[in-house]
């Protein structure tokens, strides 16, 4: 199976068509040469939110800028975004923002963060109508605080229920699932915006698990703690190649009882986890969850019998989705 980096190289030389046009290799991907570590940024604002408090949009935007500056090395937000999203995409391609509202209103990707990303993308050159915020359905989007909008003069927002799923299934091991047409046809590139949660089956749900929201029957992929199905799904070509970058919402989280909303298990990391390597991002998310569980006297996910083993599978030679080896990660905390 072709690695993401190989794909990007081919894209840079015009050998690969993604969606409707050729991609130019973004600077961030260019910087990840052979042997380089996968960079993951945890950006924090310790007092961003607290129980019952309202998020301040400007502070969320500031936190996003801080994360992107640390990741890209570019202090100006627009330049940071231009180094992550290719100019060929900003100039006329459709950029999806895959959010996560599965857990309901209490534990879904925050609208303030979604809008902050959409704002920076527009400032970097994307037209509003070429930005598509999406999840499974209007209910999930509503849980995030977003309203359905199909007006192409503004940032669009609707669920997979609107355009449906591909007729032709894809294989995740022995299981056949169908991809959302939004991913398969409408979007040229996707920014992945999960929310950090404990998960009763997979252990952790974050970057890679958010892709269960791009298929028609996610419940078919829950066997054996979602392993290897979770890695298999992320290795499906459209998921591997179009889902480009993770802006992970760890402003609030549940450290147990997930993926549903359990307010008694809610906590506020007040953080964003950002990176291109989805496996490294999810490994970092796992560490945050386990750290919190230890803090409150709960067993680790390993001890609870649900360590996210899909990370090792995603990193293996058959999937090559990233690294789960901390020695091959460069974690920046800002």
């Amino acid at each position: 199976m072709k690695s993401r980096r190989e794909f990007l190289k081919e894209a840079a030389t015009g050998a690969v068509l993604l969606g409707a046009g050729k991609l130019a290799l973004p600077a961030v991907a260019q910087a990840h040469g052979a042997g380089e570590k996968s960079k993951v940024v945890i950006a924090r604002d310790a007092t961003l939110s607290a129980a019952g408090g309202q998020l301040e949009e400007q502070r969320v935007l500031n936190l996003l800028d801080k994360a992107m500056a640390a990741y890209t090395g570019r202090d100006k937000p627009v330049e940071a975004w231009k180094s992550v999203v290719p100019a060929t995409v900003l100039n006329g391609k459709v950029i999806g923002i895959k959010v996560n509202g599965l857990g309901g209103r209490g534990i879904s990707t925050h609208a303030a963060l979604i809008l902050a990303v959409a704002e920076r993308l527009q400032q970097a050159g994307a037209k509003p109508g070429n930005i598509l915020v999406w999840d499974r359905n209007a209910g999930d989007l509503g849980a995030c605080g977003m309203s359905v909008n199909t007006d192409p003069s503004r940032v669009r927002c609707y669920g997979s229920e609107v355009t449906g799923f591909e007729d032709q299934p894809v294989q995740c091991g022995p299981v056949s699932v169908r991809l959302a047409k939004i991913l398969a046809h409408e979007c040229d590139l996707v920014i992945n915006m999960p929310i950090l949660k404990d998960h009763g089956i997979a252990g952790v749900t974050f970057s890679m698990k958010n892709m269960y929201g791009v298929i028609d029957k996610p419940f078919l992929l829950h066997d054996n703690h979602c392993n290897p199905a979770l890695a298999d799904l992320n290795a499906v070509l459209a998921v591997r190649e179009k889902v480009w970058f993770t802006i992970g919402d760890a402003i609030s989280s549940v450290y147990d009882g997930g993926p549903s909303f359990h307010p008694e298990r809610l906590w506020y990391p007040n953080a964003l986890i950002v990176g291109e390597d989805r496996v490294a991002v999810d490994h970092t998310a796992w560490q945050l969850i386990d750290h919190k569980r230890a803090e409150v006297g709960m067993p680790t996910l390993e001890a609870a019998g649900r360590a996210p083993r899909y990370l090792a599978t995603a990193a293996d030679s058959a999937h090559r989705l990233g690294t789960n080896d901390p020695e091959r990660m460069r974690l920046l905390e800002v």
Binding site: R105, P218, S260, P263, E264
Partner: protein, 156 residues
Amino acid sequence: MFAAALGIAAAIASAGCKKTAVDPFPAAGAVAGWEKNGDTRVYAAKDLWQYIDGDAEQYLQAGVVSTSTADYKYQNQLDAVVDVYTMGDAAGARKILEAGRSNDAQSVPIGDAGLAYAQSVTFRKGPYLVRIVAYENGPGTQQALIALAHSVEARL
């Protein structure tokens, strides 16, 4: 509303109980301060993943037959959701309640057994497992949830 009652009646029938249709969701004003928002949504067991994908398995393993859910608002300020899981038998409801119990749970005398936290109340009564969750916390939240829970319990 009617659909919810039908769904639960069908669930009870399939569980082998002789009980008439019930609508567990108090109407607006039935409990002081509480208003029901929108329609009741009903999920058959096979469709429960559409509502709680990732959590559905534990309910399926405990024998869930159907699930009904409705949104509520308290004094135009506090939003909450009421989930009523109709299990195949009382053992299934007990299994879910006990699985969710943690050290900081406060026992409350609702139905056959109940647990309360600052922002949620869960209880079981016969084959029913009811979970009420508030999206915000504030003074009086728990008491308001318990009052709503008593009203739901009385309708089961």
